[in-house]
């Protein structure tokens, strides 16, 4: 099949970017979207032009590296798929396809389609864990956890940290990403001791990065390749309100609302 690609090219964060047009012939409908970029890159290299830089690694939808807005949608037209899982048979022969990086203040462009997502790591560092040192864990079956609870926690834990939620949000909010981790840990018995402290610290960090605020558009849920529900944002908000109320009552910040 034939394709016309308009790809965002930007040499560095400091320089301005632009869409550049590439006409492709003989693309196999069985190839993946990234394989089309591979093919284009091989052609560019042989012409002595610089290939398009894009993040990718696992190419099976789990590492969260790949990150492209395709025809205006993060990860492209197919729901519940990452860019690397998107195959060309989902496009019409002769289609025109626009490819650009995640656009968000908190994800500055590094080069071409590569952005800096280290803000996500800093949110996790601010509290996205259970404080347990190696060696100190009790016997695994000593705390039963209901199947439904674990399934709900797992639904949140499947987040791959790709950032599509932020790219899709008109405000560039990281609420879904942050809520997924807060809910995953907050639902589990092991996560209770730090539950309210965690939500305060993570929300605080989210605000310090350049993420916008959540105004309930729900675009994040639509774009999430793992189908993570915005119900977790409500969970986070509930915990946040309880935690803030308690902080008001106890100026030292210790949380007692468990």
């Amino acid at each position: 099949m034939k394709l016309t690609l308009y790809v965002w090219r930007q040499k560095s964060a400091a320089q301005e970017g632009e869409f550049r047009r590439y006409d492709m012939q003989e693309v196999s409908p069985d190839s993946s979207f990234l394989e089309v970029l591979d093919l284009l890159n091989e052609q560019l290299i042989l012409k002595g032009e610089e290939p398009i830089e894009f993040e990718h690694d696992c190419r099976e939808g789990i590492c969260g590296c790949c990150s492209m807005v395709i025809n205006g949608r993060p990860h492209g037209p197919k729901k519940l798929h990452t860019t690397c899982q998107l195959h060309m048979r989902n496009f019409e022969d002769g289609a025109t396809v626009y490819v650009e990086p995640w656009r968000a203040a908190a994800f500055p462009v590094v080069k071409d389609l590569v952005v800096d997502r280290s803000s996500f790591d800093r949110i996790i560092q601010s509290g996205g864990y259970i404080s347990v040192n190696t060696g100190s864990a009790p016997e695994a079956n000593s705390v039963p956890i209901g199947k439904e609870v674990i399934d709900t926690a797992m639904d949140a834990a499947t987040c791959i940290g790709c950032g599509a939620c932020v790219a899709a949000c008109p405000n560039g909010s990281a609420a879904l990403f942050t809520a997924a981790k807060i809910s995953h840990l907050g639902l589990l018995a092991q996560g209770q001791p730090e539950r309210y402290d965690r939500v305060l610290r993570m929300v605080d960090q989210m605000d310090k990065e350049l993420f916008g605020s959540c105004t309930n558009h729900g675009e994040c849920q639509e774009a999430c390749p793992k189908g993570i529900s915005i119900k977790y944002i409500s969970m986070m908000n509930r915990d946040f309100i309880r935690a803030t109320a308690a902080r008001v009552m106890d100026p030292k910040g210790a949380m007692k609302a468990q």
Binding site: D30, S118, I150
Partner: protein, 642 residues
């Protein structure tokens, strides 16, 4: 280079070696720990677990990965599960049984002491992960669930849907993140290690390239741990992530570390076949599918009919035919070879005849579509999205693919390589799986090494050797940085008319044909002729664009391929030297009359440890040292799954 190998296996009975050893290990005074810098390369299960645990102990840790976040290491892609001898099912499991299954599964080419320790530690891993919040599957009563995996008759595999690796990695990543916040660990993402600094016979740091800016710098440390994963990408097409490489371990080899059993690679039987020249990597379909799927090919070679038009009597369920007692659940190496045998004989299906059917029709009839959907829904979707075919109505087509590498840097019982101060953990070392790894055992090993072995043994090393004391003004630092920088310059200057990928494909095809699922002396000799020619073409014909001072994936790929080209030769040399068949290493000359692997315990019951001798006529030369394997607790037997 020949080595004086001392595996440092503790004396005493097998089941007391590790506890005795832990007592014998020297400790570093808590107040002194922060004076020591430990460098951990890799943030997969092994690396993240090691870095976090060392940070908790109070060491000053620096951790590195090439991805933009530690959470993206390829451990994230593991689907099926992790083994542990918890015996929660009350089905007769024990540390001893897990030990035995692993030794036997590895076709008796692993060290007893290490494998026993691994089985012992497996139970602590599950405790640790659950405490971190890893959402393992549970029963309705709230207790942990298990599933079965190949090569075992007990149910001991813990899992989190089809995303076990992801959840375990996120657990380790959260522990790591906590240490980063506490500033015991400094994390260096998008940074690739390109060399190890060895001065006066001791590892004292690494040279890295910042992949975003191209800046080359040195990080000095008192000990270095390589947790950089496996080298399946030597085949170009594999189930590994695109960035997986041999660079870190190969650079260590070039500096004097021994490389053990490089030819021991695992070919996984159930992967989605390649769909054409554009194929950039292969996708695994979990081993668990073989619980309910039946594998077959048409009885008539070249039969082009649609599978549903082929009547039952004209199908060959070859695994059930050849291995009636294990059938479709035969171990990986056996199932892979059987598929290849059928395809080579002309019975394969799909494009190029490189595929066999994995058929769920019987199970769907027996259990109903709903049950199959519950068990494998996400895998079926993945299959459909890649191939465009619906596995509920027509059989999957599958074919074996490179998946895991049992070979790796040689390590002693302390996981230290032949270079003092340089350790290797996870898939990067050779230690526990012998010639074939059982499913769900790599995650276990990575976490055992990272959480529970390395934190102890590094302490012992540091307590005995003291600080490295090498300053950044030492001449060796500048000279190694220059060497690494010159290499990047040389790569950037390549201005031919071929792409890195095209040469990598060429190497991959050759390795797959001659050093893949089955090997023979003539083919290996042929490969040894051809690899240097490909390497020459690489240096003459490749084109690298851009500069070395910026984000440039073209240079990254070229550097990794250059190392694969050198490494590939050693893989073939090792395969040629081992005149026996064992586990994943199948030499066609050595097989039983019915086509099974024929081990030669009298001559080859050892780990082959290679060391770099030097260069002759532009080619690297290597020496072999043997670490004899002694089996005091299990009886060496011919594996049988009939």
């Amino acid at each position: 280079m020949q080595f004086q190998l001392d595996a440092k296996i503790p004396s005493g009975p097998l089941d007391r070696k590790w506890s005795k050893h832990k007592f014998d290990l020297k400790l570093v005074n808590p107040a002194n720990k922060r004076k020591y810098t430990v460098i951990v390369v890799g943030s997969g299960l092994a690396g993240a677990a090691a870095a976090a645990s060392l940070g908790e102990l109070g060491y000053n840790v620096r951790c590195f990965c090439y991805q933009d976040s530690p959470r993206r290491a390829h451990s994230v892609a593991a689907q099926g599960g992790i083994n542990a001898a918890k015996n929660y099912r009350n089905d007769g499991d024990s540390v001893w049984r897990l030990f035995y299954d692993t030794i036997k599964g590895g076709d008796f080419r692993a060290r007893e002491s290490n494998v026993y320790r691994l089985a012992e530690l497996s139970v602590n891993i599950i405790d640790q992960c659950v405490a971190q919040g890893v959402p393992f599957a549970r029963e309705y009563g709230g207790l942990l669930a298990n599933r079965s995996f190949g090569g075992a008759q007990v149910s001991r595999t813990f899992y989190a849907r089809g995303q076990t690796g992801q959840q375990l990695l996120l657990g380790a990543y959260s522990a790591l993140s906590r240490q980063i916040a506490q500033k015991t660990v400094s994390m260096h993402t998008a940074t690739e290690m390109l060399d190890v600094l060895v001065v006066d016979g001791r590892a004292r740091g690494i040279v890295v390239r910042d992949l975003r800016t191209g800046r080359i710098s040195t990080h000095l440390g008192d000990a270095v741990v390589l947790c950089t994963g496996g080298y399946s990408n030597v085949f170009f097409l594999s189930t590994n992530a695109k960035g997986c490489n041999v660079t870190a371990t190969w650079r260590a080899y070039r500096r004097g570390a021994g490389f053990a059993n490089p030819c021991f690679t695992q070919i996984h039987p159930t992967c989605i076949p390649s769909s054409g020249e554009h194929q950039s990597k292969l996708t695994l379909m979990s081993e668990s599918l073989r619980n309910d799927g039946r594998i077959w090919v048409p009885k008539q070679a070249g039969d082009k009919r649609h599978p549903s038009d082929i009547p039952e009597s004209e199908r060959d369920y070859y695994l059930e035919r050849r291995y009636p007692s294990f059938g479709n659940l035969s171990p990986r190496d056996i199932a892979s070879r059987a598929a290849k045998e059928r395809c080579d004989a002309g019975f394969g299906v799909g494009p190029g005849g490189l595929g066999v059917y994995l058929d769920f029709a019987d199970s769907i009839k027996r259990l109903g579509r709903k049950v199959i959907e519950e068990r494998y829904g996400n895998l079926f979707e993945m299959y459909e999205s890649i191939t465009g075919e619906d596995p509920y109505t027509e059989p999957m087509r599958i074919y074996p693919a490179p998946h895991y590498t049992m070979g790796g840097l040689w390590v002693d019982y302390n996981l230290m390589t032949t270079i003092p101060g340089l350790f290797a953990a996870g898939e990067a070392n050779f230690s526990d799986h012998g010639a074939n790894r059982l499913g769900a055992s790599a995650l276990m090993q990575g976490l055992a090494d990272g959480y529970f072995v390395v934190p102890y043994t590094i302490g012992d090393y540091l307590a005995r050797s003291g600080p490295s004391g090498l300053g950044s003004d030492h001449a060796a630092v500048a000279s190694l940085e220059r060497e690494v920088g010159d290499r990047i310059k040389k790569l950037v200057s390549l201005n031919g008319n071929r792409t890195v990928d095209s040469i990598h494909r060429e190497l991959g095809r050759l390795m797959w044909d001659k050093c893949g699922m089955s090997r023979n002396a003539a083919g290996l000799r042929e490969a040894l002729q051809k690899i240097p020619a490909i390497a020459e073409r690489f240096w003459r014909e490749v084109r690298v664009t851009g500069s070395g001072e910026e984000l440039n994936q073209c240079v990254e790929k070229a550097g990794r391929l250059a190392d694969f080209l050198e490494f590939a030769e050693l893989m073939c040399i090792d395969a040629l030297e081992r005149n026996e068949s064992c586990g994943g290493h199948f030499r066609e000359e050595y097989q039983t009359p019915d086509g099974e692997a024929l081990r030669n315990d009298n001559e080859y019951c050892y780990a082959a440890v290679w060391g770099l001798r030097g260069t002759e006529g532009g080619r690297l030369t290597h020496d072999l040292t043997k670490e004899p394997l002694t089996f005091e607790n299990v009886h060496l037997a011919q594996r049988s799954y009939k």
